[in-house]
Amino acid sequence: MEEGNLALQYLLSGVTKGSIYAIVAIGFNLIYSATGVLNFAQGEFVMLGGMIAYTLWQFLPLPVAVAASVVLVALIGCALEILFFRKLRRHSILHMIIITMGLSIVIQEAALHVWDEKVRSLPYFTGNEISSVHLFGAAISPQVIWVLGTAVVSVVFLHGFLRYTLQGRAMRACSSNPEAAALAGINISNMRTLSFGLSAALGGLAGCVISPITMTHYEMGAPLAIKGFAAAILGGFGNPMAAVVGGLFVGIVEAFSVSKMPAAYSDVVAFAILLLVLFVRPHGLFGEPTAESLREF
């Protein structure tokens, strides 16, 4: 294989992984921007999306199963917010983060006992396990295009939602100044529930669309959450598109590091770069420095 083709193949490989991280990062970004909470359970929403869709697919057509799964995961997200966060607004952000860590563990264990430890996957949306799309001598699975497409559609949807709808603008108001928003008559706790639900829905959708590529199993949430978190931080909070860019960046860095050194260290490279970015420019590539320094922990 010629050099150019090889480089392109690495790039496409990076895009494959990056799109997965990106789609997880969007959910992180949304909850953080709307509520200031770092939701470590975001990875579990992704896992639940895939698992529930798989179970439903056993007796429903695939598109219906996916849609139903997204709705169910969204409801779970709302339920979690109501149960654990509504009553506890007086706690510090540190406490809320710890609660999401606890939720992540509990959801994972619950999934193990509900579904067992086996690996499952949804069928490819188009094509099958060996089909590939050829681009200038390199190849990529058609499912990756679905993942990218879903990420882009999510970003566009969020953009439109946050900017042009009443609920969306209310959410933005809550995130930038909760007291003023409350004074303006916005129901803050409902907004919070809405953002959790929306984020969970996005996570669930992500879980369905990446399932053919990554396979779905009860333990997949935590590593995805970590990478998604890294991608969101790299991109910078506040802008869903930044999450996508962050995700793609991490994926591509990983892929090219494989080309240069033993694959065993590609994760180390990704995290090392993340640390560097954090030390030098903590607000990420596109985030706003002032907003973050004001957020007391």
Partner: protein
Amino acid sequence: MAKMRQVIFLTAVIASLVAVHLFLRAIGKEYCLTQLTMSVYYAIVVVGLCLVMGYAGQVSLGHGAFFALGGYTTAILTTHDFSRFQHAPWARALRQAHVFVVKQDLFSGQVMNVTPTIAFFAAMSVTFLVACLIGYPALRLKGHYLAMATLGFGLIVNKMLVGSALAGGADGITNVPEWRIAGLLTISGKTALRVQNYYVACGVALVLLLLLRNLVKSRVGRALLAIHDGETAAGAMGINTAGYKLKTFVLSALLAALAGVLFTHYTGGIAPSEAGALKSVRYVTLAAAGGMANLWGGAIVSTIINFFSLRGWFGTYDNAVFGAILIIIISLTPEGPLKPLGIWLRRAWDRCAGTLGNEHGAA
């Protein structure tokens, strides 16, 4: 008066530790001391984390990495065979200085390893360096950025250990020898030394707790609390916030490494999972459950829960229990359960004992 209370408290703690041992011996379950010893070592990590989280207000999701750094350094040095240098003059000099020791290995003849005492110092030094290197830039970050940085650091250490043949890769290192510190003081997993090791572990933990308690009650502790409550204000008052945060972080890292060294010699091995995200999250769970600023709370809660986990009490729900603890305790008692428990117990005591309660009202 306060000194008197301190002495009584200390005596009570020592008495309970001895009572536990004697009780176990009486019911014929002395082997539980093994799991207790392991739990005490884990508790040391949690106490250090309490210092960082509760007092300096910094979250660290990578403390397992320091435990692993300490444990692995000593494991590698005390099991790696240096005999190919055996005849070099510098090696011979080091043997004279008791840095190296030649032993008979079970299967492969003569090997030359580093003595555990020297390995211990090496482990502490390595951890100190790494903690400074990572702490200096990381602690300038706030809140969730610091969380991510420490998480990333922990994962880097984990992946490097897994990827390294020297560290035994995914299987870790086994057959780590015991550590004869001085005279009768030996850190070993041998059944005959079980009781002794229990008291050694408790002793180390007690001494550390006392030292930390003194630290916390001193100017340093107050400075840390000031930083926790409001960093900008503390800085404005002339407190070197960056310096204090770094020192606290490094101290807690050294504590974790010490626990790692002792643990590794006690169990005779270490695995890369000790540096993983799961273990680090468990440490945070236990620190939070004990009440983040409550050193004794952290130590006790951590010992109890880890003890049950190591005895297999939670069966296949082990992870779920930790998750549930996190959620329940943080939701209901964000300052930790010991205070409300203590208050509840006092009320119960007051009710039962009537006038007695009034005498001790000032406690």
